[in-house]
Symmetry: C2
Subunit: 357 residues, 2 copies
């Protein structure tokens, strides 16, 4: 079938691969929904988006993405409520951010109508891939890559904007221990740390592997200049609770403007929690850990939602966090997920209804 639909060209899969997926033992990122969207940029314009069966694509070995890393992405989730209605969470923020990332990586911005038409069409076609129940979701990965062939070091004149989807459960199951970085860094002032640029992630793997060898699951990144200020945790934004106060670093050109981060700030304020958005010194949390006022650390991100951190190493010393009653991270995660799964009011107007019928 090849039918035009709202400006998209749609070719549906002949059969579904849904029955091949073991949803009880789901490995994140190993199964992809039946359909994907590919939109080509050439001759100075984004062409008609193509919805097609998920599958491999042909790439020239000289394609610029392999050599010069023009690649940006987003992470989003679709949730199914008790009535089989499908919801996205603040999708406009992801749309805006991928274009912010693209601009920094010299990739042309993607049209909003194409983005939302593609999302709605994919989620309608593959609605059976979205499972109900807490922690279940369909993870949506929009990304853009430079595809022009040619190894000269200049921006690509051709791109592909692609959306693929894969079923997901909760990302981290147990609290993680982290190493505070005092040598490696994630981003520079005037660099691309605020962008979801592919190279930022690849660059973090080696320092993270070194941390894993020492028994830590993640690195807390500090500023490259002094390593005195706390910035992000792994691929997440990071929050610290000292006493009853919740503290997180301000966004900057080094720190990602996380959708979950800003949602947690709003939810915490809504709950009457005192939230401070300011730079945080490593010394401040070490001091707070020593005097017992450091109650919680957690990371926030679309994949993990909220990932609790149970302790950290700094300068050779490990600081274990105490068990606290009614921790913020549990309460805020529940509030966030209740909105995402349409189990609670949505005072912030964050939910986006997907038409799947």
């Amino acid at each position: 079938m090849n039918t035009p639909h709202k400006g998209l060209d749609i070719t549906t899969a002949k059969s579904s691969r849904l029955d091949q997926v073991d949803f009880d033992n789901l490995v994140f990122g190993k199964y992809y929904a039946d359909h994907m969207m590919i939109c080509d940029y050439k001759d100075g314009a984004w062409q008609t988006p193509q919805i097609m069966p998920y599958g491999p694509m042909e790439m020239e070995p000289s394609s610029k993405v392999f050599h010069y890393g023009q690649a940006v992405f987003e992470g989003m989730k679709a949730f199914k409520d008790a009535d089989d209605k499908v919801w996205l969470f603040r999708p406009e923020d992801n749309f805006n951010r991928i274009n912010i990332s693209s601009k920094r990586m010299a990739i042309p911005e993607f049209p909003k109508e194409y983005f939302f038409d593609a999302l709605n069409t994919l989620l309608k076609l593959d609605s059976e891939w979205i499972k109900k129940g807490d922690g279940n979701s369909l993870y949506i990965r929009p990304f853009a890559i430079g595809t022009e062939y040619g190894v000269s070091a200049s921006p690509s004149n051709e791109y592909k904007f692609i959306i693929i989807c894969c079923p997901a459960k909760a990302y981290y199951s147990t609290p993680v221990k982290v190493l505070i970085s005092d040598h490696y860094s994630r981003s520079a002032d005037g660099g691309v740390g605020y962008a979801k640029a592919a190279g930022n992630y690849g660059a973090s793997f080696y320092p993270t592997n070194l941390a894993k060898e020492k028994g830590y699951q993640q690195v807390i990144w500090t500023d490259a200049n002094t390593h005195e200020y706390l910035e992000e945790a792994g691929t997440m934004n990071v929050f610290f609770r000292i006493g009853d106060k919740l503290i997180t670093a301000p966004t900057s050109d080094r720190i990602l403007d996380g959708v979950t981060r800003k949602s947690i700030i709003d939810l915490a304020k809504h709950e009457g929690i005192d939230v401070e958005v300011r730079r945080i010194k490593v010394g401040e949390i070490v001091e707070a850990a020593k005097n017992g006022t450091l109650k919680e650390i957690f990371g926030t991100g679309t994949a993990a939602t909220i990932a609790q951190i149970s302790g950290f190493e700094q300068d050779g010393t490990f600081y274990d966090l105490p068990e606290v009653e009614n921790p913020y991270n549990v309460k805020l995660k529940k509030m966030l997920q209740d909105i995402q799964y349409n189990r609670a009011e949505d005072p912030f107007d964050w939910r986006y209804a997907v038409e799947t019928k």
Copy 2:
């Protein structure tokens, strides 16, 4: 034909595309030699390298390189002398460096024997693609990419190490004007600036585009912390001649250990030129430009060899460099190319003879 050769599997092209190339109007990176090498990494080991006709390859849309930028590369050149002998220039340095880059990007190191066997085989098969004459060469692009499918943010368990080749002439024909960066930066302390990681290049395109809009061809990068120190020019290392002294920044975790850079340092010393490898303040070259002691600026790199810089903008003021008699950049470029093309003695043992018969 499918024959094992020195541990490589070789499938030759049915016919050559050489006659499709207009060598008089060569666009760099648009034509690829008939053969390429692809070596897969899986199950914890590099598999048998495959020499095969250049052509597209199938990639999963979820391949990690598209999402997390695990991608590193090298740039090398093969030169043909007057007697049709083919030479590489310090190939061991490129081999060592791609493994340094790979380590930082959590990519497994590539075996030396595979690298050199593949180079020798490719250059023998495609020796007709290497043209004689000054500035002519076959540009060689080894690169490694993470190919495992799956969008979880962790190092790939599968890779491809690929070598492709394309005919090249001189890279920059005319002297370039550059803008000294006072906001954007290329790399951070503790980051990946010393690696030829794909994302470093994509991240430079947007600031370079902004410089182009102001009439400059390239950016001179300064340190991200203070923007007071000069580091690299575009994708090249950078040298400054003040009076009769040649100055370049030391390598660091922010600055690439350029093969051309260190060759130029050795050649200059060999010529009795006073070379200082030290940090250089922006203020020092502005002052030298004002008092007339700044004689030359040039970039060095495999693609460009030496690219003369005729002037720079700093803080809104443009400084034009004077014409000098017997400039270092011309003399050193000739010395370097005479060695590369086997027109001069090779006191440093830099040339590597390729068996093409």
